[in-house]
Every structure is written in C-alpha cells, then in structure tokens.
C-alpha cells in the first residue's frame, strides 16, 4: 500500500507530466527552440548516448573530485573547529559569507589562478560548493554529543580519543551524511556551471551551450537529461550510503 504510493504515484505523475508535455508540443505546434517534445529529446538522447555519456563522464569526474576534496577538507576543518574553539570563531564570518556567496562567480578568477586548460578550477568550484553544507552539518554533529553520552564517557574515565571514537564520531555521522546528501547534487551542478566560464572542452555544460548555439535544442536537452541523470546518480549513491550508515539512529 505505502509502496504503491511511494513508487507508483511519482511514476504516474512523471508519466502524466511527460504525456501532457508531448501533447502540448504536438497540439500547439511548439517549435523545438521554444520547447522540444520529450519524444524528440529521448530520440536525441538515444542517438547521442555515446557523446552524452562521454560529456557526463567529464562533468561527473570533476564533480566527484570536488565532492571528495570538499568533503575531506570540510571534515578535517570541522574536527578542528570542534576541538579548537578559536578556529571556529575566527572562521565563522568567512563561513557565513561563503555560504551566501554565489560560488560560481569565482569561476573566472579560479581559471586564472589555477590554469585554463585543466579541470582544476571546475573541481575547486565544486569543492567550494560542497564544503559549506558538509562543514556546517559535520560541525553541528560533532557539537551535538548528547549530554548523557558525555557523562557516560566521563563515568568510564574514557580518554579523549576513546570518547571521540566511540561517541563523538558515530554520533556526528547522520549530520555529516545530511551535509553530503545536500552536497552531492550541488557538486554536479557547480562543476557543470563552471564549464560556462572556460576550461577544457568536453563536459556537459559546454556541450549544452554548444548545442544551443547551433540551435540544436533537442540535443541540448539530451545533454540536460544527461545532467539530470548524473545528478540523480550522485544523489542516490549518497542517499544509499547514508541509509546504510545511519540505520540505527532513531533512538537510544
């Protein structure tokens, strides 16, 4: 019953929406540079599956590097901030600023700083975008040791490292994963948008604009579809990791 609802309902909705879209395009004679039909997009996607996959591979690669880098730095930094209060206090305004700043605006200067013929700038844009949610959530996780667990560790005369290992880190895990889940699709989008500002040719972002520039909208949409699927894969993989890692967190 619930399964029916959680799987069938969104699928039905999606199918209905696609059907309505197809119908509207056909019935109203909407031209492809306004909105191509889902069928045309699907056809282009199938026909260009190889090119789309290659492009998605480039963008996904950058997003992955950015994700891993951003997560790693965020976690290390969060641990530092959790132990050394001054690190947290000094970095607080910068973190706040970074969390409200449009990161992609930095893309042009990053290309200049790190080179325009390598993927570094894009990976850094993704990493910066990833850093914020992961850092903020991890720090919160590391800070929210339940008082009773802290007391317990003290009662056991546990060493600092023992307490960190047995209580603080596992307790922070759900928070950390919340951050990573948010960051996952962000990494893809950021890496993709960064391509608009330069760098080696080959990714989804550049492919979309190229297709648009030659008025090949169904192809552009096929790349968009590739981007959606890439984002979805990132999201689902992190979601699966999260589900496995935080199975037993509801009480205690």
């Amino acid at each position: 019953m619930t399964r029916v609802r959680t799987i069938v309902a969104p699928v039905l909705f999606g199918v209905a929406a696609l059907a309505a879209w197809q119908l509207a395009v056909v019935a109203l004679g909407i031209r492809p540079f306004v909105l191509p039909s889902p069928f045309a997009i699907g056809e282009q996607f199938a026909r260009n599956a190889g090119v789309v996959t290659d492009a998605a591979g480039v963008t996904a690669g950058n997003a992955l590097v950015g994700l891993v880098l951003g997560v790693a730095v965020a976690v290390v930094f969060a641990m530092l901030s959790a132990t050394l209060r001054v690190v947290d206090q000094v970095s607080a305004p910068l973190v706040v600023a970074a969390s409200v700043v449009p990161i992609v605006a930095l893309a042009p200067v990053l290309y200049t700083m790190f080179g325009a013929s390598v993927e570094t700038a894009r990976q850094l844009v993704a990493a910066l975008a990833v850093f914020i949610p992961v850092y903020v959530n991890s720090l919160r996780g590391l800070r929210t040791v339940r008082p009773i667990h802290r007391d317990l560790m003290r009662a056991y005369a546990a060493s600092g490292w023992q307490a960190t290992r047995t209580v603080t880190l596992p307790g922070a895990l759900p928070f950390f994963f919340t951050g990573v889940r948010i960051a996952s699709s962000l990494a893809v989008i950021s890496a993709l948008i960064a391509e608009y500002f330069g760098g080696p040719v080959g990714g989804l972002g550049k492919s979309i604009t190229s297709a648009v520039a030659s008025s090949n909208y169904p192809l552009a949409w096929a790349f968009v579809l590739g981007a959606i699927l890439t984002g979805l894969v990132f999201y689902c993989v992190t979601l699966a990791l999260e589900t496995v890692a935080t199975r037993h967190r509801t009480s205690g």
Binding site: P10, V90, P93, A97, P102, M113, F223, A227
Partner: protein, 289 residues
C-alpha cells in the same frame, strides 16, 4: 561582552584571510605551487592575485573613461542593488511557490509521494540550460498590458533555485507538530485548514527560517548566473562578464563585481535574519533544520 568577542574574532578572521593572501602572494612563485604538472596552489601574478590594496584603490577610481563614468565602487553598489532587487523578487516568488507546494504535499499524502521525488529531481536540472528558454517562454506569454521583461526571466530562474529549500523546509515544518498537538486539534473538532493555520504554520517557523536563508542564497546564485546567461544589464552578473575584457590589463577591476556578489549574498542573508527576529515568539522551540 561575548558579542564583542565574537565580533573581534570574526574581524580577526577576515584580517587573517587578507594577511594570508598577501603573504602567500609575496612568498609563492608566480606560477603557483605546481606538483606533477598540476597547479595545487594558485598563481601569484598580479593578474591572478592582485594586491588587496590595488583592488581597494581600483574601487575608488572611475569605471572607465566615459564622460559620466561612476567610480567603480558606486557602479558595483548600483549593480549589487539591482541584483538584490531581482533576487528579492525571485526569492519571493520561490517562497510563495515553495510554500504552496509544501502545503499541497502536507494536505494530500498522495501529492507528497507524487511530487517530492520530482521536487528533489528538479534541482539536478542545470538551471543555466533553462535561461535562454525561460527568456523565450516569457516572450511567448501574453500578459495583457505587461510586457515580459528580461529581468523577469532572471527572477524566474532565481525562484527556481529558491523554491526548493522552502518546499522541503516547510514540509518538514508543517509535519513537525507532535501527534499530541494534532490530536488536540482534532479533539476540538476543527478541520484541516484551521489546524494548518493555528498549528502547522506557526510550528513550521523554526524549520522555515533556515530554509528561507538558504533560499535567499540560492536566489542570489540564480540571479547572478542568469544575468550572465541572459546578458541582463544592470546587475553584478553582467558586470562580471563585461569586466572580463579587462581581466588581463586591469586585473583588480574584475574583483569588484565579485565583492558585489558577496555583498548581495550577505545583505540577503541579513534580511532573512531580521525576519527571524520578527518571528521570535515562534522560535521558542528552535530546531536546527
């Protein structure tokens, strides 16, 4: 006392970043730190990392040689205001749409099941791919006396990014009341709508505020990127593109619109924080969302 300390530490952080910038620039080689062909730390040439004082000085100089040229900082300020305005409209639209979707999902469980995955999926669509199309879609609209303007397309894209955190946050907020509270309202024999107004809406405030802040940040990102994409004149996004032409010969100049973008983001977040102050009574059981 503690507030002052926070302020001081924060200021120290900003200063530290500046010192780090200049120290690194002074010490590191012009081509940056390259390991195995990969530049791992940035280049330090004046083009890549202008001196902070050059950036500051540049701000006080005219934007170009035109007859009535504004000083750069004035131009950036106007651009930032413009972007803020468009982002504000996008934010508002996004908030309204996000709340509407959340309300719908809260009201009908089937709607939640049917919509929620798509709401999540929507954010994997590269918005920039939509920018020229949104402009075109807008152009096709007949709005009576009102003509579709390019800034509206930008606002639409901003709202597309802004609605997401609001719909998720609001849905969580609307679902946050305890079962006991819901039972209570039922025991009073009041229907869904009044339960929604009296219980779910106020209970959602602590969830809504962080969502609104995220939405503000997203709206700014969307506005800046869409300005680039559509070429909308007046905002910092467009300024970033335009100033690129001087990026080599006048490297300090292009940092000005970036600072402008930072400013817009901070002001937007500040505005939401003010809203949070106004809603203080509803935040007594503050949660971290």
């Amino acid at each position: 006392m503690t507030r002052l300390r926070t302020l001081l530490y924060g200021a120290a952080g900003v200063v530290l970043l500046g010192v780090l910038w200049e120290t690194y620039k002074a010490l590191a080689p012009a081509e940056g730190v390259v390991i195995g062909g990969l530049t791992v730390l940035p280049r330090t040439s004046d083009i890549a990392m202008p001196h902070l004082w050059d950036i500051a000085t540049r701000l006080t100089e005219p934007i170009n040689g035109a007859r009535f040229a504004l000083n750069l900082w004035e131009a950036v300020l106007f651009a930032a205001l413009f972007t803020l305005g468009v982002a504000g409209v996008g934010w508002l639209v996004g908030v309204v749409v996000g709340l509407a979707i959340a309300t719908l999902m809260q009201r009908f469980r089937t709607a939640e099941s049917a919509l929620l995955p798509w709401v999540v999926l929507s954010q994997t669509v590269p918005l920039i791919a939509l920018a020229p199309l949104v402009r075109r879609w807008g152009g096709q609209l007949e709005l009576g006396a009102i003509e579709w303007q390019d800034w509206m397309s930008v606002a639409v894209i901003a709202s597309y990014l802004a609605f997401f955190p609001v719909s998720i946050g609001a849905l969580r907020g609307f679902s946050s009341p305890d079962a006991a509270h819901l039972d209570l309202m039922r025991s009073y024999g009041v229907g869904w709508w009044r339960t929604f107004l009296r219980l779910r809406v106020p209970a959602s405030v602590p969830y809504l505020l962080p969502a609104l802040r995220l939405a503000a940040a997203n709206a700014v990102v969307g506005t800046v990127v869409a300005e680039v994409s559509i070429g909308l004149r007046g905002g910092v996004g467009r300024m970033i593109v335009e100033f690129a032409a001087s990026a080599s010969s006048d490297p300090a100049k292009q940092w000005a619109p970036i600072l402008g973008a930072v400013l817009v983001g901070l002001v937007a977040a500040g505005a939401v924080a003010l809203l949070g102050l106004a809603l203080k009574p509803y935040r007594r059981a503050e949660v971290d969302a």
